[in-house]
Amino acid sequence: MDKVQMLQVLAASLFALGLTGVIIRRNVLVMLMCMELMLNGVNLSLVTFAHTMGSAVGAVLVFLIFVVATAEIAIAIPVVLLLVRRKRSLDIETYTDLKG
């Protein structure tokens, strides 16, 4: 298997594993970490293509994704803290206030 192909397969696998984790895990913090794993899969794909093409565009996008991930965590953690204060649980199935 070619190096680029192997890295693309790894990137797709990381994204799929993160997606599976977001769906099947119940702990809110673990779900957040699985989202980070999905972002890492996307980053790896971008870096591999940027390396293959010799272009800096992919690296710029990766840097933007780093910033978005940092902003996402900066917002998500206080929200989770407040949710846990009210519900006394990290279980996603207890957060049913918005259920129709």
């Binding site: 790896l44 910033v67 649980s89």
Partner: protein
């Protein structure tokens, strides 16, 4: 034999780092304690940093370790240390009832592995290796062609900090009222 190994050391290390990153990611679905999941994610990120380093994009490897592991995951570990003792769902199952949607993710994983194993890359990408770019070229591109994106990221970070403070203050007001 040893010379052959040394000649292909980069490739061997790349495969090793990639394999370890995959195993660490898979462990995240299996481990029960959030702190262990966080450590698996940290090791996955460090191995990915190694992959980036071997690809020659050292500054992204440095960003990966400094920003992701040093900032995002440390913040996550603080949150786990703060919240974990309060988690009353620890005795229940670690998986949700969404088994069928979960199968979609596992199917996507199997498809990615199968396509990678049986299909070849397009001819244009196979074995291609463009001119490696360093921090100088990245910085020039970032601050000349993509200056608007650079400014937008600054705005996004400020907005995130303000939003986080607003969430905390709103909660305090709610508690007092």
């Amino acid at each position: 034999m040893i010379r052959d190994l040394l000649a292909n050391l980069d490739t061997l290390l790349l495969w090793g780092f990639a394999g370890c990153a995959f195993v660490s990611a898979a462990l995240m679905l299996v481990l029960r304690q959030p702190m262990r999941v966080a450590m698996a994610l940290v090791s996955c990120m460090v191995f990915l940093g190694g992959v980036y380093g071997l690809l020659g994009v050292h500054f992204i490897a440095a960003f990966q370790v400094l920003i992701y592991v040093g900032a995002v995951m440390v913040f996550m570990v603080y949150a786990i240390m703060l919240l974990d003792p309060r988690d009353e769902s620890a005795g229940t199952s670690k998986y949700s009832k969404l088994y069928w949607p979960g199968l979609v993710g596992l199917t996507a994983l199997a498809e990615a592995l199968a396509v990678g194993y049986w299909n070849d890359l397009p001819h244009a990408l196979r074995g291609a290796a463009g001119e490696p770019f360093d921090i100088l070229r990245f910085s020039e591109a970032f601050l000349s062609e993509y200056w608007l994106h650079f400014e937008l990221t600054s705005v996004l970070l400020v907005a995130a900090v303000v939003a986080a403070m607003a969430v905390i203050r709103e909660n305090r007001r709610h508690e007092r009222g």
